[in-house]
């Protein structure tokens, strides 16, 4: 129902439609009920689309069906149902592992739930927030929102330009009413009232009817404006998210101290480019991680919790630029032309030298191990392919412990995240690493199908340690049958950097701010009408009545009406000169 027709209704038949019933008839009607009734009427007056009454499928052919569907979709009831569906649909995304958040967890889930995992995967339950059904719900919700908001905005625009409706004939029936008698001229009182209400930013009009002159005013249009602003901003947020997805990219890279990173597609460990971004669009910066330092709590309840992380990098914004020293911290990213480099994680890279039986160096350098718990027990693999084609490769896999403690009857374990007493515990293999064969390999584990485990069990070592080497920093172990040796040279740290570019933020942030402002307006402002009516009385005096009606629940303008009446009474007693204020 449009504002226009609503006003006409009020204007032509004010006594029946726009005011609450007589108290005598409705004795049990409480103030709340009156207000609720008033609000309900206000809702009817408002530009909100009318709620559909009952769902009856009409036999109107294709066009009619489409029309019916559209009306259903844009109704509040369907919007509510879609809101519930959206929140229900989000729940599995928080409970099941998600590819977008942690793909390795999905793999682990696959291994532990062999029957269920493929079924869940087919239902896109590992990609909930990218799934067809989640997308369908929010697309429908936004269609519903647009279908509701666009006509409503237009109606509100018209309502803001239109005049408030004529004063009802019997103002006494309104929830708040104040009156006094005066000898002052009716026109002057009405003019004073209109001035006062205009000064208070009421939209005000004057009029005349059989019973005398009236002033009609309304305030609080910003409530609906805020409401519409909020909903339109939601569309803005969606557009921003889409833009960011299309024109943005995000990647991650693990960099060991002493090594560097150049911003090219191949340097990333993982990289997601938006459809609108090509490899040539990556900003051409580079950096070298000089040093990573971490400090930890050494006592108390929060023993071993990290306290500071600093990644000291030498940074070049372009290949020609001069290197700059920057300290990247968790909440202090490095920013290059809108692309941000975030410090995301850290760990250890033991430096190892592997030689073959002839003393040729097969591998020498740091190898990234991934942390598995809060004390940084880290797992990884060292691959040392033979220097001769067809020769025997050496491979090691196992654990790095930053602060190892030998326990009787159990594997050595780390007791603190800092590298106070680093140790490598490795199983050794010889054979073919398959590094040149087809399938992609993880750098963190060995493909041991064509390899044979070597017997490196230390003499006197407990059964718990298994068939593994235990090396402290600086120690060398010789492999049996003159197959070579491995030296644990030292320890470096690695840092994980997330690199992200999201141009959509330029849209999302302002839209979100507008959404909050709109919400404050929409929930905090009150919309109300105040009428003033002056009528002649039998004794020759004039009766001035002021009355108010809330168009928002619980917003009866009692104080405003009372104050207006008092101010008018005070002003009407005095001789009114030109332009006097009330």
């Amino acid at each position: 129902m449009s504002e226009q027709t609503a006003q006409e209704t009020v204007g032509t038949a004010p006594s029946d439609d726009a005011v609450p019933p007589e108290p005598a008839e409705q004795q049990r009607l409480t103030e709340d009920a009156v207000e609720a009734a008033a609000t309900e009427r206000a809702e009817k007056l408002s530009t909100a689309p009318k709620a559909d009454d009952g769902i009856a499928v009409p036999s109107l052919g294709v066009l009619g069906m489409l029309r019916w569907t559209w009306r259903q979709l844009t109704s509040m009831r369907i919007a509510l149902v879609l809101l519930f569906l959206l929140s229900l649909a989000a729940i599995p995304g928080s409970i099941l592992p998600q590819r977008s958040i942690d793909p390795t967890k999905v793999l682990t889930f696959y291994q532990t739930h062999k029957t269920w995992a493929p079924i869940l995967d087919r239902l896109q339950l590992f990609d909930v927030f990218e799934s067809v059904w989640f997308g369908a719900i929010y697309c429908l919700l936004f269609v519903s929102l647009i279908g509701c908001i666009v006509p409503r905005s237009w109606a509100h625009f018209k309502a803001m330009r239109a005049n408030p409706p004529a004063a009802p004939r019997n103002l006494k029936r309104l929830p708040v009413h104040a009156s006094f008698s005066t000898t002052a001229d009716a026109d002057e009182v009405l003019e004073l009232a209109a001035q006062r209400l205009r000064r208070r930013r009421f939209k005000t009009v004057r009029g005349k009817d059989r019973s005398g002159g009236w002033v009609s005013s309304e305030k609080g249009f910003m409530r609906e404006t805020g409401n519409l602003l909020f909903h339109l901003s939601l569309i803005g947020i969606l557009v921003g998210v889409a833009l960011g997805h299309f024109f943005g990219f995000k990647g991650a890279v693990l960099v060991t101290e002493g090594s560097g990173f150049a911003d090219t597609v191949t340097s990333y460990d993982s990289l997601t480019l938006g459809p609108g971004v090509g490899a040539q669009d990556l900003p051409n910066f580079s950096f070298v991680l000089n040093k990573f330092s971490a400090t930890y709590q050494t006592s108390g309840d929060q023993f071993a919790q990290p306290r500071t992380f600093d990644a000291y990098v030498n940074f070049k914004s372009s290949p020609q630029a001069k290197a700059k020293k920057v300290d990247v911290q968790v909440n202090v990213p490095l920013t290059v032309n809108g692309t941000n480099v975030f410090l995301e994680g850290h760990g250890y890279s033991p430096v190892v030298e592997v030689k073959d039986g002839q003393g040729h160096v097969l591998f020498n350098g740091p190898q990234i191990f991934l942390e598995q718990d809060e004390y940084f027990d880290s797992s990884g693999a060292i691959k040392a392919p033979s220097s001769i084609k067809g020769g025997t490769d050496l491979g090691f896999q196992g654990w790095f412990l930053p602060d190892a403690v030998i326990q009787s009857g159990a594997m050595p374990a780390s007791i603190f995240p800092a590298a106070y007493n680093p140790m490598l515990i490795l199983s050794a293999y010889s054979g073919d690493l398959n590094v040149n064969g087809g399938a992609d390999q993880s750098v963190y584990s060995l493909d041991t199908t064509d390899m044979k485990q070597l017997n490196v069990k230390a003499k006197g070592a407990g059964a718990a340690a298994g068939n593994a080497l235990e090396l402290k920093a600086g120690q060398t172990a010789t492999l049996p049958n003159n197959q070579g040796s491995i030296t644990f040279v030292g320890v470096r740290q690695w840092a994980q950097f997330n690199i992200a570019y999201d141009p959509g933020q330029q849209v999302v942030l302002p839209a979100a701010i507008l959404a909050v402002l709109g919400l404050i307006g929409s929930l905090g402002l009150r919309r109300r009408r105040i009428w003033v009516r002056v009528s002649e009385q039998a004794d020759g005096t004039r009766l001035v009545e002021v009355a108010g009606l809330a168009r928002t629940e619980g917003a009866t303008p009692t104080a405003e009406v009372t104050q207006t009446a008092q101010a008018l009474a005070a002003a009407a007693r005095q001789p009114v000169s030109d332009g006097a204020s009330a």
Binding site: R77, F129, S179, F180, D301, F309, Q505, A515, G524
Partner: protein, 354 residues
């Protein structure tokens, strides 16, 4: 900066004292309800006392009348300057009180309010000392968050008391919830005052978490009103007759429903802001403003449910009870977002000491 152990110690002491004071307040509120003349217990006590049975029955009858369904009245009052003001309102009959004129109940009630104030003073000192001990805002882990959110709730209630709003009926549920929250915090969630993990080294901790603390506390208050609304309106429709006397001492269901709505309407923009501030912080710390981390997902679910509540309240056929049930589900999600997500699910919102 190192931890100031003195302040840390005082903080723990104050929280313990606050627990004692709140417990005293809680039992005194219970006593107020129990001894209030309108209660069956209160009536039987009165009947056994010096007064004869007839008088007790008389008192009960008067009490019943006072709480009879409100009648609309046109209240005329002199507005000054010869202005007559008419307001249509619930006849401001004697506002139902919990004590119902019973002196013992009244004394207990006043004592309860006083004890709540004392508990609040200890509670606030405890939270303050915690902040002074750690040189930071004192809501950075689950223990501290629980202390702060229950403080916010206690503060909201006492503010209304100070403003002379008629909210004594909230005293029992509010102290009950505060006592429970603080008790859980003190016994199960306790962790020493310590410095922060690097992820929390940001001024957004002040903005984002403060908004979340206040929102959580206020949603709690709204939930109390919502539950009482559902019970009261069931009673007004004729169920739970045995508890008539108890319900008579609560405000009308319409008033309860409106209280719940106002609190939610007031706090929903703040919750929206809390999520938004969190997103800005997430962008700064993790490189994306939204990543469907479990905490983000559940905050979103909470947001959607309260949004649904606000829509439902403006939709025919959903007003009243249906909307109230939505608000209850929404608060269940708030609780899960806090306890469930922190303990059961792993995500980026896991910091030291939960």
């Amino acid at each position: 900066m190192s931890i100031n152990q003195n302040f840390a110690h005082y903080s723990n002491l104050f929280i313990a004292l606050a627990l004692v004071a709140y417990a005293a307040a809680f039992f005194a509120y219970c006593g107020e309800w129990a001894f209030g003349t309108n209660s069956r217990f209160g009536r039987s006590v009165a009947a056994l006392g010096a007064e004869d049975k007839a008088e007790a029955a008389e008192t009960a009858k008067v009490g019943r009348q006072a709480a009879a369904p409100a009648v609309e009245a046109v209240n005329a009052s002199d507005g000054g300057n010869g202005v007559t003001v008419l307001t249509r309102s619930v006849a401001e009959e004697e506002e139902p009180t919990i004590a119902g004129g019973n002196l013992r109940a009244e004394i207990l009630g006043r004592f309860a309010v006083m004890a709540t104030f004392i508990g609040f003073a200890f509670h606030a000192s405890g939270v303050l000392c915690r902040g002074l001990a750690a040189h930071r805002v004192p809501w950075a882990n689950m223990y501290e968050f629980s202390c702060a959110a229950s403080l916010a709730m206690s503060f909201a209630y006492l503010t209304l008391v100070v403003l002379r709003k008629k909210v004594r009926w909230m005293g029992l549920p509010v102290t009950g919830i505060v006592l429970l929250t603080l008790g859980i915090a003190y016994t199960l969630l306790y962790t020493d005052a310590e410095e922060l993990v690097p992820a929390l080294h940001s001024y957004w901790l002040y903005i984002h978490v403060t908004a979340a603390v206040i929102s959580t506390g206020a949603f709690g208050v709204a939930t109390v009103a919502t539950i009482l609304y559902l019970l009261k309106s069931a009673n007004e429709e004729g169920s739970l007759r045995r508890l008539n006397n108890t319900f008579d001492r609560l405000p009308s269901s319409v008033a309860l429903d409106r209280t719940a709505y106002r609190v939610i309407a007031f706090i929903f923009p703040l919750w929206t802001f809390a999520i938004m501030a969190g997103a800005i912080w997430a962008e700064k710390a993790w490189g994306r403003y939204w990543g469907w981390d479990p905490k983000e997902t559940w905050s979103f679910i909470v947001w959607v449910f309260y949004a649904a509540y606000l829509h439902a309240r403006a939709t025919h056929g959903w007003k009243g009870k249906a909307a109230a049930y939505i608000a209850l589900i929404a608060f269940a999600c708030v609780l899960f977002n806090y306890f469930g997500v922190n303990t059961l699910l792993t995500g980026k919102h896991s910091y030291a000491g939960l």
